[in-house]
Amino acid sequence: MAAPVSSVGKPSAERPPFSSTSFQKKTRSKLISIPGTRPSVQNGQLLVSTGVTSLDYLLGGGLAVGTVLLIEEDRFDSYSRMILKYFLAEGVVCRHELFVASAQDNPDDILQELPAPILDDVAIHKPVEQPRLSCEPQDNLDAMKIAWRYQNLPKVQSALASSSRFGHYYDVSKTMEPEIRQAAKCHRFYLPEHPTQSSTTHSRMIESYSALLKSLQEVIHREGFDLSTPMSMSRNILRVGLHSLGSALWNDDLSCHDDPMHSHALTTFLYGLRALLRSSLSVAVVTVPSHLIQDQALMGNITRLCDNAIALESFKGSERETNPLYKDYHGLLHVRQVPHLNCLASQLPDHKDLAFKLKRKQFSIEVCCQRLHLLCATLSRRRSSANLCLLLSAIG
C-alpha cells in the first residue's frame, strides 16, 4: 500500500494475555508523525516533499510514501540529476535515511554535490538542541516590556520544528555542509563494487538489478522500514535514489539495441521495486535515459510500472536555446503519469504545457505561455489576425 496515514499510527494488536481487570483503556491510535511528511488533503496518504516545491504541487501535494517517481532524463542528464539531488537533500534536511544506487558515479560523489539548504532557523546539525532559556534574556538586547511572560520562550524554532516544515529551498551555488550531510544515514550501492555473481538468475532480471533489489530489501529489513515490523515509537522514511537505470552501465542493453535481449529486465525490476515499496515506509526516485530507448511500447510499460512519471526536455544544445521565445526557460517538463492510489480520481494537472527554469534558489516549473506566442507568430504570418496577435501577446 502507499501508506495511508491511519495505518502508520495503528499499534500492532497485542493485548496482554492476562490482564488484572477487564477494563481496557481506549487508546486512540495516535498518529506517529514522522518529520518531513504530511497527510494528503485528497485521500489521507502520507506525502513527502521531493525537494522542489513546484514539483510537489504538480504531483498533487508531494510524493506519496510507497510510490516511485520516474524521471525521464534530459539529454545531458543535468536537470534530472539536479532533481535527484534535491530529493536526497530534502531527505537529509528532514532526517530521513537515504539509499543511493548508481552505476556511473560513486554515490559518495553524488552525496557531496547536494545543494545547501536555505534555513533561516537554527542550524539543524547542532547536536545539543536544548533551548538555553536561562541565557537568552541576557543575549536579548530588547527585553520585552509588555509581553514579558513570553520572554523565556525560545526565540528560534527548535530543530524538530524546522524539519517538520514541508518542502525546503536550496541554494545550488553552494554545496551542503559536511556536518549536515553526515548527520543523515546513507546507504550506498555502487555497482562496480558488487562483483557479478555467476549464479543462475531466478527470473528475467539481470544480475545487477537482482543485486540492487536484494540490497534494498536487506536495508529495509535491517533498518526497520518494513510495515510488518512491530510499531515502535519512532518510524522514519527511507528515500531511495536510483540513478540512470536502463543505461548500459547497469549491464542492460535496453538503450543499445533496437531489439534488446534483456527486454524485460528493467520492467521486472520495477515490479519488484513496487512490491518492496508498497510494503515499507519508503519512497523512490528513478531516473531513466529514455532518449536512448527507441521502443515506445517499452517506455510505456516502464512508465506504467512507476506511479508518478515526468519527462524533462532541456533546451541545451538544441536550436531552442537561442530561440527568443524560450529565453526565460531551461527546458520543457512533461507530466506523463500521476497516480490515483487508494482513490478513484486522480489529480491531473491543469495545464500540459509546462516549462522549468533552474534558478539559484529555486527550481521553478511554470505554465509555458510560449505556445500562445507560437500560435500568434503563425497567425501573423498568414496575415489573418493581427488583432488576435496583439491580444495574445498581452495575455502571455
Binding site: 500500500m1 502507499a2 495511508p4 495505518s7 485521500n43 531466478h202 527470473s203 528475467r204 532480471m205 537482482s210 533489489l213 536484494k214 530489501q217 524485460h264 520492467t267 521486472t268 515490479y271 519488484g272 513496487r274 512490491a275 518492496l276 508498497r278 510494503s279 515506445q296 511500447a297 510505456g300 510499460n301 506504467r304 510500472l305 490515483h340 492510489l341 487508494n342 482513490c343 478513484l344 480520481a345 486522480s346 491531473l348 491543469d350 500540459k352
Partner: protein, 274 residues
C-alpha cells in the same frame, strides 16, 4: 458500483447475464475504475469472486471499495473473495530466499517461457466449489474471475500467446463449465497502427482477447484533446454470440470519474458543457 453503468449494461446485482467474458481495455488512458466497478458489483451480487490483483496492493482496492460501499476484508474473511496479491507473492520469487512460502501462482516470474499454468491452477482451485461439505458455509453465486491487469504479464516476460492460452483455459472453466463471468483489463499504449507485427505486442493480445470475449469496454482519451471535466470516452461493444449469430452493437459514452463513482453521459452532454 456505478449505477449509470449498470443501466447502460442492463445489469443489476440481482440479474445479470452469466457466462460472459467482459474485456476492459484502454489506450493511453486508465480504465482501472471499471475494475473497481465490477468488483463491487459482483460482490454485491453475492458471487464467489477470484481477484488477481497483480499491479496494486490489497489495501488500495480495499480503500476504494470502501468508498463504493463494499468491504473487501469482510468478503475475504467470509470466503466470498479470494485475492491473489501479486506484488507480495512476487517478492519471495524475485529475491530468492531459503524458504519459499506462499502459493506458487506467481511462479511464472522464475521462468516466463514456461507459461501461466500455475496461475491457471490457482484460479481453478479458487473458483471450483469446495464440495460444500461444511455446515454453516454460505452458498455463493456463480464464480467470477477478475484480472487486473493482463498487460503486466507481458511486461514481466510472458509471451502474448501464453496469456491467450491462459484466458482460453479460464474461459473454458469459468464461463462454459461453471457459468460464471470473467472480467479482464488490458492496457495498450500508442496508436493502433504502431505495432510492428511482433508476437510480443500488446496489440496482438488485445485483438486475441477481443475475439474471445462477449462484451468489450474500450476506454480512450477524448479525440479532441485533454479536458479536465471530461476524462475520456468509453466505447461499449456487445458481441452477441447466442441465438442470432454474430451481431455486434456499439455505443459511445463520455465519462468523468468522481471520488465515489463515475458518471457516464452521451457525448456532448457533460454538465460542464450544458
Amino acid at each position: 458500483m456505478f449505477t449509470e453503468l449498470n443501466s447502460i449494461l442492463n445489469a443489476t446485482p440481482d440479474s445479470f447475464t452469466q457466462g460472459e467474458f467482459i474485456l476492459v481495455s484502454d489506450r493511453q488512458s486508465d480504465a482501472s475504475f471499471l475494475i473497481h466497478h465490477f468488483l463491487s458489483f459482483y460482490l454485491r451480487a453475492r458471487c464467489k469472486v477470484c481477484f488477481l490483483g497483480l499491479v496494486q496492493s490489497f489495501s488500495h482496492y480495499s480503500a476504494i471499495s470502501q468508498r463504493l460501499g463494499v468491504s473487501l476484508t469482510q468478503a475475504r474473511e467470509k470466503g466470498q473473495l479470494i485475492f491473489l496479491e501479486g506484488l507480495k507473492e512476487s517478492l519471495s520469487i524475485l529475491i530468492p530466499q531459503e524458504t519459499t512460502t506462499g502459493s506458487q501462482a506467481m511462479d511464472f516470474l522464475r521462468d516466463p517461457t514456461v507459461g501461466l499454468q500455475r496461475l491457471y491452477e490457482f484460479v481453478r482451485s479458487s473458483v471450483s466449489s469446495d464440495g460444500g461439505g461444511e455446515e454453516g458455509v454460505e452458498e455463493w453465486g456463480p464464480p467470477v474471475l477478475l484480472v487486473d491487469d493482463v498487460s503486466v504479464l507481458l511486461s514481466l516476460g510472458v509471451s502474448a500467446g501464453a496469456v491467450l492460452d491462459f484466458s482460453h483455459y479460464c474461459r473454458a472453466t469459468v464461463c462454459s463449465q461453471l457459468q460464471g463471468n470473467i472480467v479482464m483489463l488490458v492496457r495498450c499504449h500508442g496508436e493502433e497502427a504502431e505495432d510492428d507485427g511482433s508476437d510480443e505486442g500488446s496489440e496482438w493480445l488485445l485483438k486475441g482477447l477481443t475475439h474471445q470475449c462477449s462484451l468489450t469496454l474500450h476506454v480512450q482519451g477524448l479525440p479532441t484533446g485533454y479536458c479536465r471535466d471530461i476524462h475520456g470516452q468509453v466505447e461499449v461493444c456487445w458481441r452477441r454470440r447466442r441465438g442470432d449469430g454474430q451481431h455486434t452493437q456499439k455505443k459511445l459514452f463520455q465519462y468523468k470519474v468522481h471520488d465515489k463513482g463515475a458518471s457516464f453521459f452521451a457525448p456532448g452532454t457533460s454538465s460542464a458543457v450544458l
